[in-house]
Symmetry: C2
Subunit: 321 residues, 2 copies
Amino acid sequence: MSEYTPLMLAAISAPPATAAAVGRVLLDSGADWSMMNYGGMTAPEFATLQEEKSELAELLRGHEEDFYPVTNPQGYCLIINISKYDSGSDITLSLAERQGSDRDVDRVKQIFERLRFIVKIKKDLTAEQLDDFLHEIKKSRDLAKHGSFVCFLMAHGSHDCIYGKNGVPCEIRNLTEKFKSSVCRSLEGKPKVFFIQACRGSRRDRAVARSSREQTDEAGAPVYNSAIRPAEGDFLLCYATTPGSAAFRNIDSGSRYVQTVCEFIEKYFRELDLITIMTKVSGYLHKNPVQVKGGLYHVVPQKVDQLSSLVSFDPDRARKA
Amino acid sequence: MSEYTPLMLAAISAPPATAAAVGRVLLDSGADWSMMNYGGMTAPEFATLQEEKSELAELLRGHEEDFYPVTNPQGYCLIINISKYDSGSDITLSLAERQGSDRDVDRVKQIFERLRFIVKIKKDLTAEQLDDFLHEIKKSRDLAKHGSFVCFLMAHGSHDCIYGKNGVPCEIRNLTEKFKSSVCRSLEGKPKVFFIQACRGSRRDRAVARSSREQTDEAGAPVYNSAIRPAEGDFLLCYATTPGSAAFRNIDSGSRYVQTVCEFIEKYFRELDLITIMTKVSGYLHKNPVQVKGGLYHVVPQKVDQLSSLVSFDPDRARKA
C-alpha cells in the first residue's frame, strides 16, 4: 500500500481529455492498477468516481479483468496428505509410508495461512473418506463467498489416480470434477487450483540407488489410465511430474516439488501471477535435478491449464466487501 | 526500440554503488530489460561492459533468463492442415471435408511470417506422410540454429489422436515425442509449441442444429485414449478444447480457436509472454461462446504446459548473431 500511485494521480487530477492517454502510457510501462492507497482505494475506483473519465475507467477495468478477483479470505486451501498406508492386504503391500511428507503439510499451511486462505488439513483418508470430504467441502455454504479454491493432493499415485490409505485408487478426474461449475455453482467463474504431488508412473531418467534419502511416490498397484477431464473452465492442475513418471520426496526435507512451489509462491506472490510463478518453479527444478545416491534425476512438472484469467494469490488485492 | 530506457541509463551512468538498487526498483516497477536502443544494445549488455556493475549485470541476466532466447529466424512454423479426406473406405466415411480450414492456414502463415518464422505448409497428408514429414523436419540441419519450434496440427481428431487423410489415426504423443530432446538434440532446451485444432471427442454443451455455418472437427472413427506423454521439458501443447470435447470451425471464417490465437498473438506479441496471451485467448472464448443455429456453445481451450521459461515471439528480442 502507498499514498498515491501515478495511476491514481492520473485518475484523480489529470485533465479528462488526456487522462486515458496518460493511463495507457503508465500501464504500458508496467504500472500496477491494483495498488491501493492507505484508504484502500485503487486507481480504477478513483477513475470511476468522475463521469468524464469513463475512458480511463474502462481502460483500467480492462486490465483489472486480466485477473480473477481476489477475496478476503481468499478461499479454502485443502491439504490432503496420505502418508501411512494400511498394511496387511495385498493391495497396500507396496505402498510404503511417505516419510517426510509432514514437512510439506507444515510448509503449505504456513504459506497459505499467510496468504489469507482458510487452511484445512486431512491426513490418511481412505478413498471413500476422501470422496466424502471433498463432497462435503463442495456443499459448504462458505464457498460462495470465496474467490478461489486450492487443493493439495499428496499421496502415492499412478497415472491418473492417487491411492487412499486403504490402497483403493481415486481417479483425479473424479476428485476435480466435483468442483466444476455445472455441479458446484458457488465456484463458477473462480479459479480451481490443484497441486498434485504423486507419482504418475514409475519412469525415471535412471534407476534410483537403494538406501538413499530420496523416495518416490511410486506404487506397484494397478494402473488407471483414464484422461483428466475437468469438463469446464477455470481449472488449473499442477502436477509434480509428467504422465508416466515418478515424483521425488526427501524423507527429511519433504517433496522437492511442494517445497519449491511454496518457496516461489512466498517469494513472488505480490509481483507475479500463479502461472508465471509455476513456470519459474519448472525452470528452477530443470536447473537443479534431484540428487540421489548414484546420480542426478530430472523432474519435469506439468500444468494442465484451463484458466480464462490470471490468478493472483496476493491478499492485498482483495477488495473491501 | 527507443533511445535509452531508464534501465539502460542506470546501467550506463548510475554510480556503481547504487546501480543494482536502482535496477531493482526499475525492474520491480515493470521496466522491460529486453528493450533495445537504436544501436541494438540492451540494458544487460550495457551493464556487462562495466566491471564494477557486475551486481546489476547479474540482476539483469537473472531477468533475462526468465525467457527462452529468441533467434532470427525464430524457427520453423509448420502448418499441417488435413482438410480433404479420402472417400470410399469405411473408416473415412464419416470424415467430412473440413471447410473453412484454408482460412486458418492463411492467417497462421501471415502472422508467423511477420514474426520471422520460416513457415512450411503441408496439406492433406496420410498418417504415414505426416509421420515421415515430421521426421524429416526433426533431422533438418537448420533446426540447431533456431530458438524455437512451432507446429499447428489441424485435422479431424479424437481423444489423443488426429486422423490422416486416409482415416488412419496418428497419436499426438507420437508426433510431439519426435522433438523431445533425447531424440532431437538440436531442440534441446528450446520451446516446442504445438497448437492442436481438432476434436478430442464429441461432447458439447448441447446438440448442434443442422444446416448451420459451424462444423465440428468430430469423427466417428475409433477412439484412441492413450495419454500425451512428451517425455521431457520445454513442451507446450495448446488444444482448442478439453479432452472428450468437440472443437468448432466456421466454414466461412475458419476455426474460432485458431483465428483467436492469431488475433491475440498479433496484438500482444511485443508485451506479453505466450502463456499469458493464451490465457487471454481462453478468457475471450469464455466470454464469447460459439453461436450456432439453435444456441450458444462454450469452448474451453486447454494448455498442457511443461515449459521451464517464458516464451516470447517478439522478433525484436533476437540477439544479433
